[in-house]
Amino acid sequence: MPCATTTSGSSAVTLFLNYTLDGIANGMIYATLALALVLIYRATRIINFAQGAAGMLTTFIAFSLLSRGWGYWWAFIVVLAIGFALGAVTERLLIRPLHGKSELNPVIVTIGLLVVFEGLAGAIYGNASRGFPAAFSQRGLRVGHTAIAFSHFDVFILIAVLVLMAGTLVLFRFTALGLRMRATAFSREIARLLGVRVGPLLTLGWGLAGIAGSLAGLLVAPTSAFGPYYMDLILVYGFTAAVIGGLESPVGALVGGLISGLCISYVGGYLGSGLEPLGALALLMVALMARPEGIFARPPARRV
């Protein structure tokens, strides 16, 4: 019996570790989409509901390129560039003209874009789900004799997202361009009075968010039912991650993504995958009740 107890305990630990690893890999993807939402929210105070759909559309472009015999990495790079261009064009042509008008207008535009992007993908590629190749093997790695729920592709996800996050951090913390972008995000009027040309910076912010959204699309596609709507739920999870992190903090996006990924993985693993969206909703509710401003939001200024 002691032996049986040990085996059962060991498998429970393995299961927990696997759910944890799965949560980390998924959490990194949610963090990527959360970062995209944060980059846009902090610059323009808009939740971009089309962010997931834009990532879906660019991933379909990657699918087309791969179908035409392109190498994975060429398609990867080109699609990130297209993601940048799509974000930048959206800001310049659809969002900028709405500046100074009702705050609801740009939100409605992003919802409209969500519908347009999904409709466009459905019209061109059909609504059926299909497979999408992964950059690396999705077979679980082995630790000793035990296979774990963490593949070479998950390692790639981890590295790709950490590189994106590190790049964002370096840009914002250590470059003049990043300082301009932060100033524009926090106080557009003061930034302008200090000679900062804010228009190109807003376009750049949307472009960078477009890269993050496209990366999320490429990373999710191999592990999901790839079709016009496969990013909808990821957007919800990414939004949950962004809210937990504080909606304005790239670091918060990473931490929020990991918290969301782990919670959703535990709910899916222990209670059933059908309950994952409810788990995300419960997490969002708890986060909003416990710390509405998010973990990494700056406390209100002290007035002296």
């Binding site: 300082l179 100033a183 200024a301 007035r303 002296v304």
Partner: protein, 235 residues
């Protein structure tokens, strides 16, 4: 020289400025005084491009400002310190200062410019890595004044720098302002409700009432006119 001619601004049905005209000379401080709602802040915001007028002109050293965007006006050497201590709270003291150096200094010269301005405001030196949100009202005002001066402006627009500050801090700030602008070729337009304090550092005074210029004269003359001071400035 700053030349404002027949400047008119409205917000919907409300006329904020009505044919405002005055000159501000280089090397001098021009105080713009008046009660709440007189149009003082709107005047500065129009000069710096934040508000578009529906009539009139503003020119600085012969270059028209109306029609240019805010960033271009700033890059012409116009530094506007807005009402309410316009620090960017989420940035550190040094980042606030560095931001003002980006368009006017080469990369290698920026740190020197920051160090130089921190010599003028030694109180801020120990706070350079602190977020601006943690500063007191007086320290914030020093930071915005330092941030404005760091770019070596040709035209300095100051909106209520003494608002909410203790009299001793206000006196220190005014002394600093005088020290930093005296004998230099800077044109200063100082909007103040604290007329007594503003007149003490100004050479010229413009009094606004309900969006119109009612007095434009030497600061000493305005300060010496009891009836004028009592009627428009309340002291």
């Amino acid at each position: 020289m700053l030349e404002v001619r027949d400047l008119s601004v409205s917000f919907g049905a409300v006329r904020a400025l009505r044919s405002v005209s005055f000159d501000a000379e280089p090397g001098a401080v021009t105080a713009v005084l008046g009660a709440n709602g007189a149009g003082k802040t709107t005047l500065l915001r129009t000069i710096s491009g934040l508000v578009k007028p529906f009539g009139g002109s503003v020119s600085f050293d012969g270059d028209a400002l109306v029609g240019r965007n805010v960033e271009s006006i700033a890059r012409m050497g116009v530094a506007h310190v807005p009402e309410g201590r316009g620090v960017i709270e989420e940035l550190t003291v040094e980042e606030n200062l560095r931001l003002a150096t980006l368009w006017c200094f080469k990369r290698a010269e920026r740190q020197g410019a920051i160090d130089e301005i921190l010599e003028v405001f030694p109180r801020l030196r120990g706070f350079r890595r602190r977020h601006a949100s943690t500063l007191s009202g007086g320290e914030r005002q020093m930071l915005v004044l330092g941030r404005a001066l760091i770019s070596k402006p040709r035209l300095l627009l100051l909106d209520e720098p003494s608002l909410g500050l203790a009299p001793i801090i206000t006196a220190q700030l005014m002394a600093l302002l005088r020290e930093q602008t005296e004998g230099k070729d800077i044109t200063v337009v100082l909007v103040e409700q604290n007329a007594r304090s503003a007149l003490s550092v100004s050479q010229h005074a413009v009094i606004l009432n309900l969006g119109r210029v009612v007095v434009s004269d030497e600061a000493a003359t305005v300060a010496a006119d009891d009836a004028l001071r009592h009627h428009y400035l309340g002291f």
